[in-house]
Structure formats: C-alpha cells, structure tokens
C-alpha cells in the first residue's frame, strides 16, 4: 500500500520541481488525461476488490483511456465541437459509478464481518 503512495508523492514533487507549464491550447488535453488516469485508477481498485484485477487490463486501460481521451479532444478541436466534454462526461460518470461500487463493497465487507461476529 505504501509503494503507490510513495510514488504518488514522488510524482507530484517531480511535477512541481520541474516547473513545467502546459500552453493554454493543450491544457484541455492534460485535464482530460488526468481525468482518464483517475478513472483507470478507481477501476483498478474496484477490480482489486472484486478480485478480478489483471495487470494487462489495468495497464492497457490506463494508456488506452488517456489516448482515446486525447484523440477525442483533438478531433473536437479540429471539428470545432467541444468533444472533449463527451470524454469528461463519460469519465465523470464512470468515476462516480466505480466509487459507488467501491463504497458498497467496503461497507458490505464490514457489515458481513460484523454479522459473522454476531
């Protein structure tokens, strides 16, 4: 558990220390990539709790989601339609659903253990 946290901290520190700033034109891409990353992360946690976690699925999901989001945003810019909003919406919905499932599973596990104790 400590390893991902440590790496998260390292990543944030790196990002702040390198002082990189994305030009305005590309900030949409980055925001959507961050969203996709969160989505994949929560999906991974859910899969872990459901006990069907798979490295390959996780890794490909991570990169595929980010790429798809970026492509969608790019096409949107080319067509003059805010297509990246579609990605934001999709990822947002999935984020909430994954979170809800995780919550339920955690609660279920706790309740179950309580019942068993009784």
């Amino acid at each position: 558990m400590w390893l991902p946290l440590l790496f998260l901290i390292i990543g944030v520190t790196l990002g702040i220390l390198t002082d990189i700033r994305i030009p305005d034109a590309y900030s949409d891409y980055l925001s959507i990539a961050v969203l996709a990353a969160f989505d994949t992360l929560l999906g991974g946690i859910r899969a872990q709790l459901e006990k069907n976690f798979d490295d390959t699925v996780f890794l490909t999901g991570f990169f595929f989601n980010i790429t798809l989001a970026a492509v969608l945003a790019f096409i949107g810019v080319q067509l003059g339609v805010d297509l990246y909003l579609a990605a934001v919406f999709a990822f947002g919905v999935r984020l909430f659903r994954n979170l809800a499932m995780i919550r339920r599973m955690v609660i279920d596990q706790k309740l179950l253990t309580k019942f068993r104790k009784k």
Binding site: L5, G11, G15, D19, R21, I22, L41
Partner: protein, 234 residues
C-alpha cells in the same frame, strides 16, 4: 497482490502524480500577469511618474499661493487677485491676444503649368483637423488659423463646401497658420519630417515654414457657450 503488480500500480501513480502537479501549476499560474519591462523601461516609467508628480506639486503650489493671496489681503487686493486669476485663465483658453515666439506656416497652392483646367485647391476640414492634431502632438501651445484663434471650443466645419473655423469661413489660399511653441525649432523639424506635407501635396498644396521671434495671435472673440460643461468637483 503480486510484486510486479504493485510496481505497476506504483508507476501509474507516479504518472498520475506528475500530471496532476503539472495541471495544478498550469492553472495556478494563469492569472499572473508577467512583468516584461526591463530596467530601462521601469526607470523611464519612474521618471515619467516623478515628472508628473513634480508638475502636480507645482500646480498645487500655485493654487496655494492664490488662496494665500485671497486670505491675506484686503478686499481691494482680493479684487486684484481675482482679476489676475481671470486674466491668467483667459490667457490660457485664448480669450486674449497672445504674443511669443513660434512658427508661421503658410499654406500655398501648387500650380502645375502643364495641367489645364486644374481646380484651385482648398483646404478641407479633415485636412485642417489632421494638421492641427499633428501640431498639438509635436508641442504647439497656441494656434491661430488665418485670423481665427483656435481654442478648445473652436469648431472646424464644412459649410456648403467651404471650411469654417469658429463659425467663419477661413477664406481661400494662401493662408497662414500661426503657432506658438516653446521650442519652435523642434516643432518645425517635426513638422517638416511628418507625412502631413505629402498629404497636402496630394491636394496640390504646400506648407512653408517660417520661424519667428515675435508672433501675435488674435483673441477668440466669440461668446463662450459652456452649456455642456460642468463644474469640476473639488
């Protein structure tokens, strides 16, 4: 969880952390307006501000002096002070004749001997306005056009094809424009180098400059219509 999986998740976390940090930096630095002036520009700005401050202080000193005169003196002296104030104000807005050194500009027609049926050139209101703008840009203080003193209230208008200043026609060319300026030489240099010459040449006119030590500008003799002006606060 397998060891390799843990590392994988950790690396994904690293990437996420990095992206979040970059995103955070991008959004948090947007609002700042960058200071792009170099030292010299800042110094110039500072100098400008100091000059402005000095100017304001001078004005305050003069106003204070006037107030003091009113306070101190008897009613007769007060009357004198009032008259002085009025005189200086009238001088300022052009209600009195004014003498000084400056530039006399004569606008003359250019005639091409070959051209037959050439129209006698006349100065249009636009052209005149442009000329006055240039003069004011380059430091003219008081201007008279022909026999008309040009003040802040002077209109330049087109009335049935003739150009009117102060509601009177300026007459035909040649015409003289008298300009008082602190530094008449500089004004002349500026005017000779400015594109206004070419614009006049297009309309078959030329401007001849003559620097004079003694110029007399007529006074503005129309009644002042100040309906749209309001008393300044303070």
């Amino acid at each position: 969880m397998k060891r390799s999986t843990q590392w994988l998740v950790a690396i994904v976390f690293l990437v996420i952390g990095f992206m979040v940090a970059v995103q955070f930096q991008t959004t948090s630095h947007e609002a700042q307006v960058r200071e792009t002036r170099d030292v010299w520009e800042v110094r110039e700005e500072l100098k400008r501000q100091q000059e402005q401050q000095q100017e304001l202080l001078d004005k305050i000193a003069i106003a204070d002096q006037t107030i003091e005169d009113y306070d101190r003196s008897s009613s007769r002296d007060q009357l004198e002070t009032l008259k002085e104030s009025i005189e200086s104000l009238e001088n300022k807005i052009g209600l009195r004749e004014k003498e000084g050194k400056g530039l006399e500009m004569t606008i003359r027609p250019i005639f091409d001997e070959e051209a037959i049926g050439q129209e006698y050139p006349k100065i249009s209101p636009h052209l005149l306005s442009r000329l006055l703008n240039e003069l004011n840009t380059y430091g003219a203080e008081d201007v008279s056009i022909g026999n008309e003193r040009f003040t802040t209230l002077s209109p330049i208008r087109d009335v049935n094809g003739a150009t009117y200043v102060n509601n009177r026609p300026i007459g035909s060319l040649p015409m003289s424009i008298k300009v008082l300026a602190n530094d008449a030489e500089k004004l002349q240099d500026y005017m000779e180098a400015s594109p206004i010459q070419d614009i006049f040449n297009i309309d078959n006119m030329e401007i001849i400059f003559e620097r004079k030590e003694q110029l007399v500008l007529p006074k503005f003799d129309e009644p002042l219509h100040l309906e749209t002006l309001e008393e300044a606060g303070g």
